[in-house]
Amino acid sequence: MADFPTFQNIVLTLQQYWASQGCLIMQPYHTEVGAGTFNPATFLRCLDDRPWRAAYVEPSIRPTDGRYGENPYRLSHYYQFQVILKPAPEDVQDIYLNSLVELGVDLAAHDVRFVEDDWEGPTLGAWGLGWEVWIDGMEATQFTYFQQVGGIDLNPVSVELTYGLERIAMYLQKKDSVFDLVWSGGVTYGDVYQKNEAQWSRYNFDVADTGLLFSHFADYEQECERCLAAGLPLPAYDYVLKCSHAFNLLDSRGVISVTDRTGYIARVRNLARRCAEMYLKQQQPVEE
C-alpha cells in the first residue's frame, strides 16, 4: 500500500470534509465550463443575500491548455474541486486549512502561504481579491472573496475556493507527471485520460469546424436572448455557457484576433450580466 491518497480518495476526502461544513455536495454541471465558477451553483447562487454553501467537482474544459497528452503538466480537461461559501465565514482561512490537514498535510511541517492573487473573470463580469494558496511553492488552491459577479456588487460577500485536484494529487503522491497519478488501485490518470488529451488537442487545435462554431456562437447568443425575453434566466444562462465554450474552441483554433477577442468576451459578459440581473430580480419577493 502506498502511503499517499489516491486521486479518488482526495475527492472523497474533500467531499466529506465540506459536507461536514454544511455544504451541499453537488455534481458537475451538464455542459462544458472553463471553471467551476461558471456553474450556476456558484455564478447565480452567490448573487442574492440568502446563505448558500456548496461543494462539487467540476471538469474544467480549457481547449487552449491542451498539449496532446505530451506535456506532463498540461491538460485541456482537468478537475477542479469548487467550494462556495456565502456569507464568507470569519474563520474561513482556518476552515480551508483544516481541509489540507484532512488531506494529510501537516501544516507545521510545510510552508503554506497565501500569496496575493486578484481574480478576474471577464466573460462573467466578475472579480474578487484573494490568494493562491501555496504548499511548498506549489499552487494548490485559488482563494477568492468575490466582490462582483455578473457586474453586480455582492452583499454578502461569498468566498470561492478552487482546488486544483491534479496538482494537489501530484504533490501528495510525489509524481512528476499528471499521467502517473494513481487514480485508484492499479489505474492511473493516464490510463483514463491520456488518449483523451491527445484526441481533444487534435480536435481543439486542428479539427474543430470553425464555420460551425461561429454559427453556433451566434445561434446560442440568439437563443439566450429568446430565453431572456421569455423571462427564463436559468435556461438563458445555459446558453451563455455554450457561447463561452464555442468561443474557447474558436480561440484554440486561432481564428479570433486579439481585438475580436475583446468583442466576443464583451458579448458573453453582456449576456451573463443580463442573466444575473434577471435571476436576482426573480429572487426578490413579489410585492402584493
Binding site: 486578484d118 511548498d136 511553492g137
Partner: protein, 709 residues
C-alpha cells in the same frame, strides 16, 4: 508602585489576512505620517522619530516610544463683538457683551479684550484641561486604521469596512494598559497572534514595549528591515557555501520580505540537463511566480541550483525544499517543452506566420508591421547617414524582429519577447550581430533601464518605437491621463534616450511623416491628416521635457529650449543643457537683457511686422547701422556654432550683442514719428530678437528658479 510616569510606550496593531506585498509596503509608508497626524490632532505631543512602523503579511503595527499620558491642555478662544460695541463709555459691558458671554457660558467679567486683524475684540477664553491619553487613544487608532489607503480594496462583511484584505483583529496597548474599543464589529484588545503555523494561537501582549519580543517568541519577526537583513545575510551565506552568487534581476527581494514572517533562506537544486536552456528562460522560471533566487558561478554562468526564502520551520526544510524543487522542475520542464517545440518550428516558419497575428484591428497584422520596420530602417539610415554593415544588420534584424511573437515561449512568458527571438536566431546560425539587435529591440524596458549597445539594435529599437507611437496617433488612441494601452509614453522616452546616447541627430518629424506614409501605403484605416506627424513629434518632445525636469532641470529651461523650434531630439536636449549651464553665468544677463529690450518695444508697438525686412536706406543714426552690422556679423557665427552643436559657444556669441543693443536703445528713438522709419527700426530689433530666440526663449529661462550656489 513608583511615581506615575509622564510617558508610556504605545502600540497599535492591525491584524489582517495575508496582505499583498505591495499593500504591505504601502501601509508601511502611510502608517507613520497617519499616526503622527492623528496624535497631533488629539494633542498628544511626541517626536516624529519615536514612531516605528512594523509590517508583516499579517499585521501593520504602529509603535511609539514615549507618548505622554496626558493630553496637553488647550486654550479655547471664541471671538465676540468688537470691543467698542462691547463696552460703553464707562467701561461697562453692553447687552451685546452680556449676550455673547451667556452664549459661550462664561461670566461677562471673564471676557478678555484681544487684538484681531488690527482691531480690538472681546474673546471668551476657556481652558480645556487635557484628558488622559487612555481616553482618546482609541480615536487615534480609528483614524490610523481608516486612514490607510490602498489602490485596490475589498469588502468581506457586507457593507462594512474596506481594506486591502480582511482585518481580523486589533490590539492596542498603552504601557501595560489595554485600549479597548470596536470598529465595524472588530474588537480591539490586548492580544495578538503568532506565526500562522509555527505558533498558532493568541499571544497576549503584556505591554507595548514587550510586543516585538513577544512576537519573536511566537516566530514572527515583525520589523521588515530586520527581515530584509536576515534574508540578505542568508542569501549571501548560502550562495557563498556553494561558491556562487545569487541574482535577483526581477527585484523579488522586495516582495519576498513581505511574504514571510519567519524567514529562513534555503537552497534547492534542479537537474543539470536543464542548463542547456537559455539563462533568461531559467531565470524567469525561478523568479516569475516562484520568487526564487537563481545562482550563478564566478564566470556568470547559471548553476543548477537556487535559493528561496521559506516561512516554515527550518527543521522541516528538507521536505519543504524537495516540494519546491519538484515545482521548479515542473516549470522548467514545461518551458523546455515549449522551447523545443519552437526550435522545431524554426524562425523562418514563425516569421511566415506573422500574417495570422493582428497588430491592431485597423493596422493589419504583424506581417505588415515587419514590412514597415524594414522600410523604416532604410528611412532612418538616410536621415542619419547610416550605411555599410550596420545598415545590413539592422535590415536583417528588422525582418526577423517579430518572429518570436508567434512562439510558444512568448505566449507563456511575455517578458521573454525579443530575447527568445534572438536566441532562436542565433541557434539557427544567424550572425550574432543580427541576433543581438533582435534582443535589443525592446530596450529600454523601464524608465532608466538599459538601452541598446549595438548600433543596429539602437536603430531597430528606435524605428519599432516610432512605428508604435505613429500607430497610436494614426488610430487616434493617444494616451490620456493614466491610460496608455500601448505604452507609447515609455516608447517616446526610450526613443529620445537612445538618440541622445548614440548621437543620432535627425529631424524626428521627418521619421514620423515616413512612418505615417507607410500606414497609408499599406492602405491601413488610419487618420490621414499629415499634421499627426508633428503631433507625434511634440508628444516625444513632451517626454524629453519631463525627463529633463525629472533629472532636476527647471521645467522653464526645457520649455525655453523647445521654443527654439528644433526638430532633432539630440539638439533639443543639448540646447536645454547648454541653457541650464549658461543661465547662471553673467553673460546670460546680457542675452536676456538684449532680448528683453528688443521684444518689449516691439510688443508695445503692437505693429504687425510679419515678413517685414530691414531697409538700410531708412537708417538715420549710426547706432542703427551698428546694430544691423553686428547682427549680420554675429548671426553666421551663431549659425556655425549651432550647426556643430556647440550651443554653449553659440549662446556666448549671441550674448555678445548686448552692448550694441544697449547703445541702440540709448541713442535711437525707436518710436519715431515717421511710420516707415519706425517700422524699419522695429523690424531691426525683431531681427535681432529672432536670432537670439533660435537659441531658446531667454524669458522662459529667466523665469526658472535660480540655482542654489
Amino acid at each position: 508602585m513608583t511615581a506615575a510616569a509622564s510617558h508610556r510606550d504605545f502600540l497599535f496593531e492591525i491584524g489582517t489576512e495575508e496582505l499583498p506585498a505591495a499593500a504591505a509596503r504601502s501601509a508601511a509608508a502611510q502608517a507613520g505620517p497617519l499616526a503622527a497626524q492623528a496624535l497631533a490632532k488629539h494633542h498628544l505631543d511626541m517626536d516624529r522619530d519615536s514612531i516605528s512602523i512594523w509590517v508583516t503579511p499579517r499585521r501593520i503595527a504602529v509603535y511609539i516610544n514615549k507618548l505622554p499620558v496626558m493630553q496637553q491642555s488647550q486654550e479655547i478662544t471664541d471671538r465676540g463683538p468688537i470691543a467698542s460695541k462691547a463696552f460703553d463709555a464707562d467701561g461697562n459691558p453692553t447687552r451685546a457683551a452680556e449676550g455673547f458671554a451667556r452664549a459661550k457660558g462664561v461670566g461677562v467679567d471673564e471676557l478678555e479684550v484681544r487684538e484681531h486683524d488690527g482691531q480690538q475684540f472681546v474673546f471668551a477664553v476657556s481652558r480645556k484641561e487635557g484628558l488622559p491619553a487612555t481616553a482618546i487613544l482609541h480615536e487615534a487608532c480609528r483614524e490610523i486604521l481608516l486612514g490607510i489607503n490602498f489602490p485596490k480594496t475589498m469588502r468581506w462583511q457586507g457593507e462594512g469596512m474596506r481594506f486591502s484584505r480582511p482585518v481580523r483583529w486589533l490590539a492596542a496597548k498603552f504601557g501595560s494598559e489595554t485600549i479597548e474599543f470596536e470598529i465595524h464589529g472588530i474588537a480591539c484588545g490586548g492580544v495578538t497572534r503568532g506565526h500562522r503555523f509555527l505558533a498558532n494561537g493568541p499571544v497576549p501582549i503584556e505591554s507595548a514595549a514587550e510586543y516585538k519580543e513577544s512576537l519573536r517568541a511566537a516566530k514572527v519577526i515583525v520589523d521588515q528591515e530586520e527581515r530584509r537583513g536576515a534574508i540578505l545575510e542568508g542569501l549571501a551565506l548560502e550562495a557563498g557555501k556553494r561558491g556562487a552568487s545569487f541574482i535577483d534581476p526581477a527585484g523579488e527581494l522586495e516582495e519576498v520580505m513581505y511574504l514571510v514572517e519567519f524567514p529562513s533562506v534555503q537552497a534547492g537544486e534542479f537537474a543539470e540537463e536543464h542548463l542547456r536552456l537559455p539563462a533568461r528562460v531559467l531565470t524567469t522560471c525561478m523568479q516569475s511566480h516562484q520568487r526564487y533566487f537563481p545562482l550563478t558561478a564566478e564566470d556568470g554562468s547559471m548553476m543548477a541550483g537556487f535559493l528561496y526564502v521559506m516561512n516554515g520551520d527550518p527543521a522541516s526544510a528538507p521536505e519543504i525544499t524537495s516540494g519546491n524543487e519538484r515545482v521548479l522542475e515542473g516549470r522548467i520542464e514545461d518551458a523546455e517543452f515549449s522551447f523545443d517545440k519552437d526550435l522545431a518550428t524554426g524562425v523562418e516558419a514563425m516569421r511566415a506566420g506573422l500574417g495570422n497575428v493582428v497588430f491592431h484591428r485597423r493596422l493589419g497584422s504583424l506581417e505588415e508591421k515587419a514590412v514597415r520596420l524594414e522600410a523604416l530602417v532604410k528611412v532612418f539610415a538616410d536621415l542619419v547617414d547610416l550605411c555599410g554593415p550596420d545598415l545590413k544588420t539592422a535590415m536583417a534584424a528588422a525582418s526577423l524582429a517579430k518572429a518570436d511573437q508567434v512562439s510558444i515561449m512568448v505566449q507563456e512568458f511575455a517578458d521573454l519577447e525579443g530575447y527568445i527571438g534572438s536566441v532562436y536566431a542565433r541557434l539557427e546560425g544567424y550572425p550574432s550581430d543580427v541576433s543581438d539587435a533582435i534582443s535589443e529591440q525592446y530596450l529600454p524596458d523601464s524608465a532608466g533601464g538599459n538601452i541598446p549597445v549595438t548600433v543596429p539594435g539602437a536603430v531597430l529599437s528606435i524605428v519599432d518605437k516610432a512605428d508604435n507611437i505613429m500607430a497610436a496617433f494614426a488610430v487616434d488612441e493617444v494616451p490620456t491621463g493614466s491610460r496608455d494601452p500601448y505604452g507609447i509614453r515609455r516608447a517616446a522616452a526610450g526613443i529620445s534616450v537612445i538618440a541622445t546616447r548614440f548621437g543620432f541627430d535627425f529631424d524626428l518629424e521627418a521619421l514620423f511623416t515616413e512612418a505615417h506614409r507607410l500606414f497609408l501605403d499599406q492602405k491601413a484605416d488610419v487618420n490621414r491628416d499629415a499634421a499627426i506627424a508633428a503631433a507625434a513629434r511634440d508628444f516625444v518632445f513632451d517626454r524629453i521635457q519631463n525627463r529633463l525636469s525629472d533629472d532636476g532641470m527647471p521645467v522653464e529651461v526645457a520649455e525655453a529650449a523647445r521654443a527654439a523650434g528644433l526638430g532633432s531630439m539630440l539638439r533639443l536636449e543639448m540646447l536645454a543643457s547648454a541653457l541650464d549651464a549658461f543661465r547662471s553665468q553673467p553673460a546670460f544677463d546680457d542675452l536676456h537683457t538684449a532680448y528683453f529690450r528688443c521684444t518689449k518695444i516691439a510688443a508695445k508697438a503692437g505693429a504687425d511686422l510679419q515678413g517685414a525686412t530691414v531697409d538700410e536706406s531708412l537708417f538715420e543714426e549710426e547706432t542703427e547701422r551698428g546694430l544691423f552690422r553686428t547682427v549680420a556679423e554675429i548671426e553666421p557665427e551663431v549659425n556655425r556654432l549651432t550647426d556643430s552643436r556647440d550651443y554653449a559657444a553659440a549662446l556666448a556669441a549671441a550674448a555678445g550683442i548686448r552692448p550694441v543693443v544697449d547703445r541702440f536703445f540709448d541713442d535711437v528713438m525707436v518710436m519715431a514719428e515717421d511710420e516707415k522709419v519706425r517700422n524699419n527700426r522695429l523690424a531691426l530689433v525683431l531681427r535681432a530678437a529672432a536670432m537670439l530666440r533660435r537659441l531658446g526663449d531667454p524669458m522662459r529661462v529667466a523665469a526658472a528658479p535660480k540655482k542654489e550656489t
